[in-house]
């Protein structure tokens, strides 16, 4: 019963989201794309968090996907749509290789290292003038799908759908048991037969791949990027804040957080052009102080309270 209701709600949301371009102009669609991008990043970040690993490297993998896609088009003459696929896979392959090093680390050592990796990617692309265009960045010959706003929207929606689908699979497969067991106690997980490194590597590679995919979609939708745009720290910080606001360790939490904060930040940007980030920061601090388990946790407590 509850499951049927969830499926129905998801189906309705999918239909509404798919037909949105028929009713909205270019600006709202642009905002929607931004929200969906952050939402996908927030969900992907949370997917790894379910294993207890806090990544600060979202921007790094997002930027890597962006540059991979842009450079595949510019330097290899690849078709933009095809470049999305290859850039996504390339980011995944790089994350897989890096996983062997960074997944030996835990807690803040893991977090700091992922942060450093993002910075290393940025600096490398910043300095490889001839290959990456250096600090000026890269300009593509054109925007994907001729820049048609509905097409760009649907592309971003497709990226989000892939991410949400993967997260949904994570929650319902044995990955859920493996990652939660690892998060709670690695020693006891090992004694139950969980190959910890294998599952961390799967989670890290998959979530990095998704982040790279969103980066590739982003760069093809704007037609240009620079190291500072592609590796913008906001791509790490905003998804993190959204997941915390909505409630971590679930798919629904980061979705709710992204809708709220995404729209709030857009609105604040218009209302308080020079101080919107301050207000944004205050919101995050209040949320963490007042509802550490996020909106989803709050709703769950409320429901539990009523039942009792």
């Amino acid at each position: 019963m509850k499951r049927t209701a969830t499926y129905a709600a998801a189906a309705i949301a999918a239909v509404v989201l798919a037909v949105l371009p028929a009713f909205l102009g270019a600006y709202p669609l642009n905002v929607a794309r931004s929200v969906m991008t952050y939402m996908a990043l927030a969900v992907s970040w949370d997917m790894l968090l379910r294993s207890g690993q806090i990544s600060f490297g979202i921007a790094g993998l997002f930027g890597l996907g962006s540059y991979a896609s842009a450079l595949l088009v510019l330097r290899a003459g690849m078709d933009p749509v095809l470049s999305l696929v290859f850039a996504t896979l390339l980011t995944g392959a790089i994350a897989y290789a890096l996983g062997f090093a960074v997944l030996r680390l835990r807690a803040m050592y893991f977090s700091i290292t992922t942060l450093a990796l993002a910075e290393i990617f940025r600096i490398v692309l910043h300095n490889l003038h001839d290959f990456s265009g250096g600090p000026e960045g890269v300009v593509l010959p054109g925007v994907i799908f001729g820049g048609a706003a509905p097409a760009l929207y649907w592309l971003c929606l497709a990226g989000l759908a892939i991410t949400l689908g993967t997260s949904w699979y994570f929650e319902r497969s044995k990955l859920h048991l493996a990652l939660t067991a690892i998060r709670n106690d690695e020693t006891s997980a090992r004694a139950s037969g969980v190959d910890i490194f294998k599952y961390l590597l799967v989670a890290f590679t998959v979530t990095s791949t998704l982040q790279g995919m969103m980066g590739a979609i982003q760069v093809q939708s704007y037609g240009f990027t620079t190291p500072e745009t592609a590796f913008d720290a906001n791509f790490t910080l905003l998804p993190l804040a959204m997941a915390l606001l909505g409630g971590i360790h679930s798919t629904l939490g980061p979705i709710a957080g992204a809708v709220l904060l995404g729209i709030a930040s857009e609105w604040l940007k218009l209302k308080i052009p020079y101080g919107h980030l301050v207000v944004y920061g205050i919101i995050i601090v209040l949320v963490i102080l007042l509802m550490p388990r996020g909106l989803v946790g709050l709703a769950r407590n409320r429901r539990a309270g009523r039942r009792a």
Binding site: N184, S192, G193
Partner: protein, 239 residues
């Protein structure tokens, strides 16, 4: 061939020798007590056998096969299971999900199969309401769940690290008969670490005594408890 055997098993932490040259064996259908004063190396010994720690030297043989350096998750899959002295129930999972983990990852069952086998195990341990959060469990229920988690691996060898600690007399009696029944039904080789000598006397046919990492005595509890070295280890030089 013994189900489980160690040969000259030794674990050194820098200067400290936590387990020193311990050779023992454990057979199917047998319940062995592992006793010794605090810090004798009992838990370290179980860590070595289950692969949570790797030995400095010596061997662990499971059904004749050298598994001394096999990772813990592989040993779990082969059939070596254990509980933990310091219990860490998985908070964000239900009782049933906690127990399913061993079935999914050690026995490679599908989620559906694992659910069914976990339900069976929990039922045999009289663990009710499996949809509960582990936060609401009593100590007895947590201990039972720990055993259920270990049994879900489908083990041939089971080590219980102080599963009676914190239980009252009634609960302890209940646990003793439960462990006996499980061992018999499943033909398990069971190793029990316990501080309460009454439990050891009731439960085990044979004990090994560790002191400062060394095996100092072996035999039925009635004999070992009269051994002067054992009495000295427990009571100190004054005895």
């Amino acid at each position: 061939m013994k189900t489980l055997q160690t040969e000259h098993l030794t674990k050194r932490f820098l200067g400290l020798v936590a387990v020193n040259d311990v050779s023992f064996s454990l057979d199917a259908g047998e319940i062995l007590g592992i006793i010794g004063p605090n810090g004798a190396g009992k838990t370290t010994f179980i860590h070595l056998v289950s692969g949570i720690l790797m030995p400095t030297s010596g061997k662990v043989l499971f059904k004749g096969r050298d598994v001394s350096y096999a990772p813990a998750h592989e040993r779990a899959r082969m059939g070596i299971a254990r509980t933990f002295q310091l219990i860490h129930p998985l908070e964000n999972l239900t009782v049933l999900e906690n127990v399913m983990i061993g079935a999914v990852f050690s026995r490679r069952q599908s989620l559906r199969e694992a659910r069914r086998s976990a339900e069976g195990i929990c039922e045999s341990l009289q663990l009710g309401d499996l949809g509960r959060d582990t936060a609401s469990l009593s100590i007895l229920e947590i201990k039972k769940m720990e055993i259920a988690r270990a049994l879900a691996n489908g083990p041939e060898v089971l080590f219980l690290d102080e599963v009676m600690a914190g239980l009252n007399a009634d609960e302890t009696r209940q646990m003793i008969s439960m462990v006996k029944a499980i061992a018999k039904e499943r033909g398990l080789a069971v190793g029990v670490v316990e501080h309460v000598m009454g439990v050891i006397r009731e439960l085990t046919e044979r004990v090994i005594v560790l002191e400062s990492g060394e095996l100092i005595a072996e035999g039925p509890y009635s004999e070992v408890s009269k051994n002067p070295r054992v009495i000295e280890a427990y009571l100190g030089g004054a005895a």
